[in-house]
Amino acid sequence: MSVSGSIAIAGVHEHETRWAPEKTEIQIMAESARGALADAGLALSDVDGLFAASMSMGAMGTVSLAEYLNIKPRYLDGTNIGGSSFVAHVNHAAAAIHAGLCDVALILYGSTAASNAMAIGTGLGGGSRDPNQAFVGPYGMTTVGSYALVAQRHMHLYGTKSEQLAEISVAMRKHAGLNPNAKMKSPISVDDVLESRMISEPLHLLDCCIISDGGGAVIVTSLERARDLAKPPVVLLGCGEAVAHQEIGAPDLLTLAAKQSGEHALGMAGVSHDDIDFCTIYDSFTITVLSTLENLGFCKPGEGGDFVSGGRIALGGALPINPDGGGLSNNHPGMRGIFLVIEATKQLRGECGERQVAGAKLGLAHGTGGTLGTMHSGATLVLARD
């Protein structure tokens, strides 16, 4: 029996907060756990696998979290590969459940990035006392700058336009307007994006994700068990992980981890791109979405600009992306991967109201962690209605 088709997402919860100066990171995780357990119809005592990562969790992080929740799981996974971690946690939870090492996996994330005034995009781009970072640190690479290097190369090779990147921001904002919990709901135009201040050429302010507080939880179990729980199961058909880095000094900035993880996930699922009804794709920056779509194979290298234009990735378009509004407009508390899984699950359960993708049966979630310009991870899931 393969992992494919035997594991399911049984419960999810996206914490409603976007600004929580009165809450702690671990509190947001625990409140999210409460929400997801209620969603699944499970009790905390059912949890025997704990998976988590955060901006501040280090060694002993999952042990400390287990103490906070007063649980004694028999499987722990604190994998932290950046914002994609929680997509990878689903992959890891599936393997553990499939192997009989746990039955009910709880995946958690929480962050107070906004109320702690973390300047993730432009506040981390300086020197470092780590010798391994010394080939980057002296040069002032911001998070935005790392992605801008990719965007500039893409524009140079393929003639991609800022107007095309802006279409991605416009679509995400349109979606956020249909999401009651989204942080940024006022509609924006392509011109608004182009006229917003330049952060790192060619990326403007509105090409960049927002910063919010927030968190979420996902519960993974066997499909067999999930069928007896409160909500319709969402079945894991395929999964994959990958890394991309500077290699031995010849990084191709336009070949993302998504190429490898996507091929693996789609191959395992045995589905083609045309079968996919919608995607949730980590939209740290507009270029992230455009380049990820190419690397996942939804279009050829260089065709991303046309692919995202004309409302094709907005609700009602050929391939809706991030119906919740994504990191560009809904929420982005530092590491966003868990929301890709949550929104894909809700869409496949058909419970998204105004932002529901009509008839969604098959979705793809892809998380990116790290920075595209130096090193990053990718994790892909193919998920289906039972």
């Binding site: 432009t122 470092s128 010798p131 010394a134 911001t142 801008a148 290097l149 031995i248």
Partner: protein
């Protein structure tokens, strides 16, 4: 021309200090494997192609072309906070490796992908190294 800025000083390990000491002599030092011949960057204690430890250093021509770049307009971290707009780039060296760097010595608006550039060094304050080794410098590039 944008304001000149002082690069944060590089931190070196025993695996990487030949690179930084080479820069201190205003030489761009790269590694080549003595067994398989592959040039690798960043420097390591082992060849990531054949796992040999027989690594040799050689001096690069310091010539290359801009692979990609971004003009940075916002960075909250000193000294870059006061150095904007500055150019972050990858440069393809003649010998193969692609290095992250800054392009200096020209207006940021004049930088273009494919532009010919040559290495330039800014001496680093390594007074805290004591007698442990030679001076460091930070390699960056300017129009050729």
């Amino acid at each position: 021309m944008p304001p000149e800025f002082t690069h944060p000083k590089p931190a070196a390990s025993w695996e990487t200090r030949a690179y930084w000491e080479g820069a201190g002599r205003h030489e761009l030092v790269l590694q080549r494997c003595g067994d398989c011949g592959v040039v690798q960057h960043r420097p390591r204690a082992i060849c990531a192609s054949c796992l040999s430890s027989a690594l040799q250093h050689f001096v690069s021509s310091g010539r290359g072309q801009v692979y990609t770049f971004t003009v940075t307009h916002q960075n909250g971290v000193p000294p870059f906070r006061d150095a904007v707009p500055y150019v972050l780039a990858y440069v393809d060296l003649e010998e193969g490796p692609r290095l992250m760097t800054n392009i200096v010595g020209c207006d940021p608006g004049d930088v273009a992908i494919g532009m010919d550039v040559v290495v330039d060094f800014q001496d680093a304050d390594t007074s805290d190294l004591g007698d442990a080794g030679g001076a460091f410098a930070v390699p960056r590039f300017r129009p050729a």
